[in-house]
Assembly symmetry: C4
Homo-oligomer: 238 residues x 4
């Protein structure tokens, strides 16, 4: 199997997994950098993640123009993906989602921080991007490269960022890595809301976050991936 | 396929989708204006939405009398639908439901407003209709045209209204549009409850609400519809 | 079909429905008064509700002795059922359950009252029985007729009662009626917890509760029953 | 069937049950003491509990070395199991999990105590182990016998302990017993969070906890086990 074939199949599984685990509903998307051409990325046409098939996946240049869309309409927000791949050489997959528990953090300006070891990979603290600061009243959608680059700048070297009134964007070194962070970002947000109602929280220390993050290797990711893929009706690729 | 056939099939799918997505339980209903006669509307006989088949759908005049019910008992609250179609030329579908997260807003008089871009279509602020203000102690059911018209008056030109101790009513320009608003009204209510416990909320600005609402086109609705229909065991009609 | 056969099949469906709708887990039970002998009642042997088959159902005298248990071990708490049938001629079905949302009310002494029209049938206010008041430190289980009668006395003429640290007991004029009340008691409790966090609640007025309760007829119950039975893999009996 | 065969099949069912009931996700594990050699225990290779098959189960010495791993990679945290079997002759099964509702208690230092009769088996009060007290900044994983023994010491003679920022560990006299406690520990934590938001809680009295705990016999465990096993697609062994 070619590297491209592998990544295409990973993307299909990832879309199904994100839907099955409640990280995306009918909206939200995941892309992968093209394995043979780092100036291109792979992303489905505009379709609900749960429904995506191989023929839905389109190859885009970093500026969001399609190599050959063959009439397949793109996601308006594909610029999130291109702008991040442009800014971050280390990133090979990007998830953009509206998972429910992250929303209250964005709209109240509450700092989301890891309190559970499984959530350390979301970073020391998740910054919040507010589209209206530079772009005023919009649809909140990241609908051109200027907005995408502004989001990428706020993200910086971090693994995740919230978007006020909108959702989150998560990046990873592989499709499996980005999905893993997105799943546990949602869980961490849910748990932090509950813990905030109970009293002062002892978050993971910076040292703990760094140690855990360094340890999340392919072995850890694969254990979750095998399980999530099967739940979503897909097999894990070797 | 005739326009009537199309709408009848849409209604069956809509009932299944509303049940599958948790917007109705064994109660609640959705109607469509008759595509060939704007003085009539189409609504199931009194049956749980999850169970509705094509033969359950009855044609009603705006005053709630059936063209030919053939012994099929009507929903007591069909007057919600007729009164709104009477008042609102732009409305082609009406959902009445008791989705769980909207109830606490109605009974505490809390203003429900959109805080997530997906929820902008519920309007700038959702008004609350309280049946006891004009009608005193009742079963809370909208059981005649006088109550229906009172609700329609409170709704005004808006897309949605809450009903104290009872639920919500949502309208749209099509079946898919009304279902879309009802699904995201429930999500918005759930998220607002969580955000209220965390601090001051930055709701969508009026300008953001208007821009997003203007952008919710058939393309957006169809992406959700394909997914929701399949989840509920139905295919999307072309 | 005989009246007894009808009730036996209703009980099987009821057990599956209560499990499927989250009102019981592996514990909890529902009984029916014997249709031909009001001094007897029908209740499964001690088994998880989701697993109950027709051969599991045993006939008991009001004092909790079996007519012929044929080696089938009884629920310890069958005395709840017998004591209520003894005290309440109008009751033909009893549900005892630990549905999650009612528990916080019992342990904090919070008054549970209907705030949604669907929940009016639980009564104007749900009293709380605390086993330790008369019986001191026990397993909290209603394990003899003395405890059962004490609970029945607190219940009085009402449709439902909470049990501190334990659960709830709900009664009805039929199996379908008791299940209906139990399902919406759980929903009402969940919604009241959420509404309490938001501000002062406008509960249903006493007049509204009475009017709604008077209107919950077989027609309403059957609409829910058809749906719940099908969800749980059973057909509704005519 | 040999005692070993019985325990191996129990472990497979237990892994599926814990996953199906939401007590573990892709991480977490359950072990059993070897029925013929109390110095050994049985635990799956590192794999998501939902996916575990008989060939995944490895026999370990109490120090965490495998008898014959045959290339099957171990869970890093197997030392939790060995250290507890070393310290507690009465324990025959150990569950380590990250079930969601226990996490907020660990990170806020809130005392988790039983408020529902079904939860009494978690003990009078659940202590919290904080890895950083003796071991400083780590990955929070119990990755050697020193950490395992420190956790076992905090656990003492109790049935359960929380782990700050990490999860919980639960022990039992059998596989079924440990699973039962873990399931109801999660439920109790969820209910206590809700009750804390409503007012002062009347927890079970110490006498009630003791009486209930003494009564949880095989009969009780088997009623739940039959149901949970079937839900997870497994049959209960006689």
């Amino acid at each position: 199997m070619s590297r491209l074939d592998f990544v295409l199949e990973e993307l299909i599984t990832a879309n199904r997994v994100l839907a099955h685990e409640g990280i995306v509903d009918s909206f939200g998307h995941i892309s992968a950098r093209h394995p043979d051409n780092p100036q291109h990325y792979l992303l489905s046409r505009a379709r609900a993640p749960e429904r995506i098939e191989r023929d839905d996946i389109v190859e885009y240049r970093l500026d969001g123009t399609a190599i050959d869309d063959d009439g397949r309409a793109p996601y308006t927000e594909r610029f999130i993906h291109g702008a991040i791949y442009e800014a971050r050489r280390d990133v090979h997959a990007v998830v953009h989602n509206h998972s429910p528990s992250v929303i209250p953090f964005g709209v109240t300006g509450t700092k989301l921080k890891p309190l559970l070891h499984m959530c350390a990979s979301c970073g020391h603290e998740v910054p919040i991007w507010d589209s209206c600061e530079k772009f005023g009243d919009t649809t909140l959608l990241v609908s051109d490269m200027a907005m995408g680059r502004d989001l990428a700048q706020l993200l910086g070297a971090r693994p995740s960022a919230l978007m006020r009134g909108h959702g989150a964007t998560v990046v990873g070194r592989s499709v499996r890595h980005a999905v893993f962070i997105a799943v546990y970002l949602e869980l961490g947000a849910k748990l932090q809301m509950q813990a905030m109602a109970m009293g002062g929280i002892k978050f993971l220390s910076p040292g703990e976050v760094d140690k855990i993050t360094a340890r999340v290797n392919d072995y850890t990711l694969d254990r979750a991936w095998e399980n999530w893929a099967r739940r979503a009706g897909r097999e894990m690729q070797a």
